[in-house]
Symmetry: C2
Subunit: 306 residues, 2 copies
């Protein structure tokens, strides 16, 4: 039994109103697997980097108990590189550079030791690669979670729609839900998207929290109001990783556990944005996480007498 | 003991993507007093209309048990009239017409029978008129709630800052909180605004719910995800009315009761937007309200085992 995370492992260069970084370690699979590792101890990565990726950075991932057998290292090639600059409101950003490098012809190879995969997180990558990953697992995992973004809706919508038919949970943001469904109302958007394949839809609304839709049920999770969002990069990946990591830990997939999983994912994401890149979520203590969860409980609980 | 609501009583002409109305009854005090009347039976209005206001409309307000002794009727003058058009996203609108009419020189006269006021809601009006109302009450109410908008920050900021020193609760939206404080982060904005006088700050975020700030505590209330927002006019006033009406009912002002009051206010506001103007909130049953409250409980409750 394991939780397999597929996604980018990459270098990012980030500029925010608070400062800028040189190339630092990033990528959907990096953020997501780190987040998941706080709740579940059998997290395994599928991804690809070039030989420019530092051994110490891979060691840091391994130090979290994360299996990197499925992380291909391409000699003589360069790692995926993304560079972006956030606007003052931190809700929008410009992409300055996207160098696909090793990602251009990434073939996701699943080590045989990964065939015990029960929970699969398809982090942000081309829908074709996400689909191939599902097909290469001998046994369909108990739960498949897919994260994607507007970029793939723009250039690979047909592939995305094919892949969506195969998954249980889709996580996207509100703008993406509107783009994918053609509906402005998130309720109408959710109804349409739940016809496309996923049984659960999570709409991430950044500082406004997240909504979970399933059948005729809906759950609204708060976001922790923060005095400063230092760097939003990777928050969505961290959310997805914390979400599926928590579900893998409890081992039962149902609406109530999904609600809690969203709180755990949100808590991890709230740490992520406090520092540049993975700096914060690399070094969390169990106590810190537990306290943050308690903050979420305090934040949103109320009791109405009947 | 009573709940006094001061604010506009007016005609609105509204255009939304779903249709348009002729002049219909609107105004902050109308929405707020109707909402409050579902929870508390001693609601009293202070306001002013012209002789163009229909007797039947006043009777409809009275039919909710609302005292209109403080509603001045100016012979030979016209009621305040506002006309607006909502954009497709329903989050922004253009004001087409604002005819102040009777509101131009409104002097809020407090009937002696209103001097038992324990809960005072200062609905959207000039900060000067709001302040005069406080000064004309012989005894300071137990709770003073002030609702305002960006318009008054633009043209009467000094008056507003003076009035804010006298109130307990301020309700504004997120853009207004940013404008009033000069801070983008709502946490920083709240910290600054809580230095200006109010002990409690409610930031209304429309479809994203509301935040309550008090000392170092914060509560995040969800909004009910709706398939269709038919007409947002009056939702903020309805929220404020339901909020203070619930507090008047329970009779004790503390953070926990405020949290519930926000849920009750949000529930009423979720009805308000379902039809044009006051159409929906004029005709609610106790059962409908109770069911909507239960929907809010279901929407946001989760249980994390320790």
């Amino acid at each position: 039994m394991s939780l397999v995370v597929i996604g980018t492992v990459a270098f990012d260069a980030i500029e925010t109103p608070f400062g800028k970084t040189d190339k630092i370690v990033g990528g959907a699979a990096t953020y997501a697997s780190l987040a998941a590792s706080y709740f579940y101890d059998k997290v395994k990565i599928v991804g690809v980097v070039g030989d420019d990726f530092h051994k110490e950075d891979i060691e840091e991932i391994k130090a979290h108990g994360i299996d990197v057998e499925g992380l291909q290292i391409k000699e003589g090639e360069k790692s995926f590189f993304w560079s972006g600059k956030y606007h003052n409101d931190m809700n929008s950003r410009d992409t300055l550079i996207t160098d696909l490098n090793v990602l251009a012809d990434f073939d996701p190879i699943i080590p045989s030791s990964y065939q015990d995969c029960e929970y699969l997180l398809l982090g942000n990558l081309s829908p074709q690669v996400q689909k191939t990953t599902i097909e290469r697992l001998n046994k369909r995992p108990k739960l498949i979670v897919l994260d994607t973004m507007n970029f793939w809706m723009d250039i690979a919508l047909d592939d995305l729609l094919e892949t969506l038919k195969l998954v249980d949970v889709l996580t996207i943001n509100d703008a993406e839900a509107r783009q994918l469904s053609g509906e402005y109302s998130l309720v109408k958007a959710a109804n349409k998207i739940l016809q496309m394949g996923p049984k659960y839809l999570i709409i991430k609304k950044g500082e406004h929290g997240a909504l979970l839709f399933h059948e005729n049920k809906v759950f609204s999770a708060p976001a922790l109001p923060l005095a400063e969002v230092f760097d939003p990069t990777g928050a969505g990946d961290t959310f997805a990783g914390g979400f599926v990591g928590y579900l893998a830990k409890v081992g039962t997939v149902n609406f109530n556990n999904m609600k809690n999983a969203i709180i755990y994912g949100s808590a991890l994401a709230s740490f992520c944005v406090e520092k540049f890149g993975t700096e914060k979520i690399k070094n969390l203590s169990t106590d810190e996480v537990a306290q943050r969860i308690e903050q979420f409980v305090q934040l949103s609980s109320f009791t109405i007498e009947k």
